[in-house]
């Protein structure tokens, strides 16, 4: 079945450094991918998305990279801030629904 997974369950970075969160997916038919941020006690919040016809997309301080060959995507956060501390989920769209990965908890040290 479809699965989406993350390489690391936790990531700790220094404030101001760049963060990279990785994700692998299994379904090569997935053509849409989203990164969500979840703060404690809140629902997933959309960060950035990318379609399979692209390999890179940039937002404000965030960049998503998609490597369809190895079925891998990553989220890069530039100049990480304390407010970036949260759990980050990747999700792939398949069959009209989102399949979420396990989540990586990002901690930003001041």
């Amino acid at each position: 079945g479809e699965s989406v997974g993350l390489h690391l369950p936790t990531l700790s970075v220094q404030e101001g450094d760049n963060s990279i969160i990785n994700c692998a997916y299994s379904n090569s038919a997935s053509d849409y991918f989203i990164w969500y941020k979840q703060e404690s006690g809140k629902g997933p919040q959309f960060i950035i998305d990318i379609r399979s016809n692209m390999d890179k997309r940039q937002g404000q301080r965030v960049t998503v990279l998609l490597n369809k060959t190895v079925k891998h995507l990553s989220l890069q956060i530039a100049a990480t801030q304390p407010g970036d501390s949260a759990v980050y989920f990747c999700a792939s769209a398949w069959g009209g629904k989102l399949i979420f990965g396990q989540g990586t908890e990002l901690s930003v040290k001041p």
């Binding site: 969500y36 997933p44 379609r51 629904k97 989540g103």
Partner: protein, 116 residues
């Protein structure tokens, strides 16, 4: 910015009791979803709903679960006879109608269900 709202934020119930979780999706959205997240685990798809009927449901969504759009604004999830393993955070989500199913979902803040 419009948002999905869910009530209550916390629900405590006894095993075997019925619970109804309520959601108000974003007003111009037509696709509705329920997801759940057991503590420390990933967000899991339960059900999708469009045009007053279920579009798709997961294995989790068994006969104990039902969804309803009782009026033009609310979207509810009912669990008929709760079990201990139903304890989780339940998220409602919605998206606008689009040509593609690949439109981003907007999530509510969730209802934390605790079954005792």
């Amino acid at each position: 910015e419009p948002e999905v709202t869910q009530t209550p934020s916390h629900q405590v119930t006894q095993m075997g009791q019925e619970v109804i979780l309520r959601c108000v999706p974003i007003s111009n959205h037509l696709y509705f979803y329920w997801y759940r997240q057991i503590l420390g685990q990933k967000v899991e798809f339960l059900v999708s709903f469009y045009n007053n009927e279920i579009s798709e449901k997961s294995e989790i969504f068994d006969d104990q679960f039902s969804v309803e759009r009782p009026d033009g604004s609310n979207f509810t999830l009912k669990i008929r006879s709760t079990k201990l393993e139903d304890s989780a955070m339940y998220f409602c989500a919605s998206r606008r109608q689009g040509a593609s199913t690949n439109e981003k979902l907007f999530f509510g803040s969730g209802t934390q269900l605790s079954v005792l």
